[in-house]
Symmetry: C2
Subunit: 194 residues, 2 copies
Amino acid sequence: MGRLDQQMAFVGEVGQLKSVLRQTVLADIGRPENSAEHSWHLAVMALALAEHAPPGTDLSKVIGMVLVHDLVEIDAGDLFLYADQSEQERQLIAERAAADRIFAILPAEQATAMRQLWDEFMERTTAEARFARALDRLQPFLENFSVGGGTWKRHGITADQVLAKVKLIEDGSPTLGRYAEDLVGRAVEMGLLA
Amino acid sequence: MGRLDQQMAFVGEVGQLKSVLRQTVLADIGRPENSAEHSWHLAVMALALAEHAPPGTDLSKVIGMVLVHDLVEIDAGDLFLYADQSEQERQLIAERAAADRIFAILPAEQATAMRQLWDEFMERTTAEARFARALDRLQPFLENFSVGGGTWKRHGITADQVLAKVKLIEDGSPTLGRYAEDLVGRAVEMGLLA
């Protein structure tokens, strides 16, 4: 296969992400969100909220990360944020196998570059990865809040459980972390969170 | 409203794009595509097909454009590519009004920058806009082909009509234009196009 055919095979394959459903139910629309439109939302958030990333953060790298961060779910599916430890571990193994398969559809050096981007997102050691992970954590909070509880209510999640997850937002962006903490406080007042 | 509140209002508003349905029916998934996941697919295509843009093209600008190019459809809806001239003109007026409203949700200088990006995409005079428009034109071709005809069959579109639309792909990327032309030839052979 020529380079362009490999790239087009990848373009066709990634379209399957539109069929991977998340726990989040979309406000007003009333159906589960899929991982493709979720990834798009994160990329637009990166554009709109760029100034809340630490100084010197490479925004185009952040956007690349959020665009491809969920491709592994084509094989591994989406796991609920509050799943238990053993499920999380199984998920990680499935996601690594998916990354091995999916990125390798691209020509070799593109496959390597995109896999590195995904590994960096997962490892969360750079400013870019930490900001990207903060956006990924923040977006379902916003959806839950605007839908009047969402997965928090459906699964009986408590404020303490949510606040434990806010730490990852603070770690990527102190400003967005404070915003999320305030949101949790308001959600408790409104009875959206136990 | 503070800057962050304006930005978060924008982040909430853009989520509505997930409810805007396109003509394209997704292969394997069997439901219409929405404009949010379509925009995500274009951004991933920009990453995977970057080398087919003219030398010197600013890829992060292309990605910014494809991420926001359809936001106006939150108010204006999606128009079928083969709609007649008077419909296209009405659509353009509705999209401009939508751009006036939606981008203005952001703090002023961000609103101006994002509106300029959208205007540039629409005017199609820069290399970035021409490549972004080429991707936007190519993606439904690929979907129609893999779904066995799609909107081409449903609306009785002919090869000549499709080839007239291929010119915009060639204009943004000669390589992708040739690829699309070959695809049309194969579609005719396979009876997907009259």
